[in-house]
């Protein structure tokens, strides 16, 4: 467990930690983007590239959460986690993108898999 910074410790520490080490490092990018986006045209090639990078980054987050899972998700074996993602993607590909069905299928694979093979 990370201990509070002694000088700033007190009942308000968790709130301060949240603002300093989670809110600001996240929000800063949204603020910067508002500035950068000024004057950019919606169909400019630069923005198309930016959108592609954003898409790839999001996909990367998915892969990272599956490969190094947080908390109790680690109870699911790697193969089960990959199978859950693959199942959801397959449903999206085969059913003209029925999101609800895809999410439910992925979840059923994961929960069922942990039930059968999890520790």
């Amino acid at each position: 467990m990370t201990q509070p910074i002694a000088m700033l410790d007190g009942p308000l520490w968790p709130y301060l930690a949240l603002v300093l080490f989670a809110f600001l490092p996240t929000e800063i990018w949204r603020w910067l983007a508002v500035g950068f986006a000024r004057g950019l045209d919606a169909d400019s090639p630069l923005l198309e590239w930016v959108r592609m990078v954003a898409t790839a980054l999001l996909a990367g987050i998915v892969a990272k959460l599956i490969v190094s899972p947080p908390g109790v998700l680690a109870a699911a074996p790697l193969l089960v986690r990959v199978a859950a993602i693959a199942a959801a993607a397959t449903v999206m590909a085969l059913t003209r993108r029925r999101m609800m069905l895809a999410v439910v299928t992925g979840e059923v694979v994961l929960v069922g898999g942990v039930w059968l093979f999890g520790g």
Partner: protein, 241 residues
């Protein structure tokens, strides 16, 4: 739901809320249940868990924040890790702002709108906003995103008290909602071959980069590589036709 140009703003906001309640709000809400349990694991009060959903509004950043505290990481390391994981908001917000922006709009409104940029509002926004009259987009977006945020806050609150009591498979299932939903949202927005390449390469390169590039740079490097390759493929196809 389609929005017509002569609707009053409450009706537009309501249309946004209704579209959110059709599915996206529930999924984000369920996906952020896990945050409650992670916050509880490190002994932080429930309002910090809920505030993290409202202020940070980014599942992976929140997971990283609480899980790093549990692991005993240094505060500076936590801030840097969260910063790198959130770098995606720079390109994401830049991509959606031209759809929401209007001449004469104040910077403050734009900063407020930008705060809601996260996977759901982003993928759904890119898909739905072009079909909505430009002067109503901001209101629609706020109705949509705020509904997601309210439902998610309730989810985080319940997770704080609930998740420890759940059997392991169900608790794991809730935590896995985030990656599954991310992927499903991304595939719902696929339009061109280039989009498919971006998603596919992004998935494949991230674990490889995680192995070989340290210091938190791995995700951004894989994103830049995969995104740039996808962009070039898209350009070549466009040039060919």
């Amino acid at each position: 739901m389609s929005v017509s140009a002569d609707w009053s703003w409450p009706r537009v906001a309501l249309a946004g809320a209704r579209d959110a309640l059709r599915l996206p709000a529930w999924i984000v809400g369920l996906g952020l249940i896990g945050i409650g349990s992670l916050a509880r694991d490190v002994g932080y009060p429930v309002d910090v868990a809920v505030l993290s959903t409202i202020l940070v509004w980014a599942g992976p950043s929140q997971v990283l924040f609480f899980a790093s505290i549990a692991a005993g990481a240094a505060w500076s390391a936590i801030a840097i890790a969260v910063g790198f994981a959130s770098l995606r908001f720079l390109p994401m917000t830049m991509a959606i702002m031209p759809l929401l922006r209007r001449p004469g709009q104040s910077v403050w409104l734009q900063i407020w709108l930008a705060h809601y940029v996260a996977v759901t509002a982003w993928t759904e926004g890119l898909r739905r906003l072009p079909g909505i009259p430009p002067h109503q987009r901001a209101v629609y977006f706020l109705g949509f995103a705020n509904t997601c945020m309210v439902v998610s806050s309730i989810g985080t609150f319940s997770g704080y008290y609930l998740l420890g009591a759940l059997p392991t498979p169900l608790a794991a299932g809730l935590l896995c909602l985030t990656p599954i939903f991310f992927l499903v949202s991304l595939t719902a927005g696929l339009r061109h071959v280039a989009d498919v390449v971006a998603v596919g390469l992004g998935l494949a390169l991230a674990p490889i980069c995680e192995r070989f590039i340290g210091g938190g740079f791995d995700l951004i490097v894989s994103g830049l590589m995969a995104g740039s390759i996808a962009f070039l493929i898209g350009r070549r196809r466009k040039a060919a036709t």
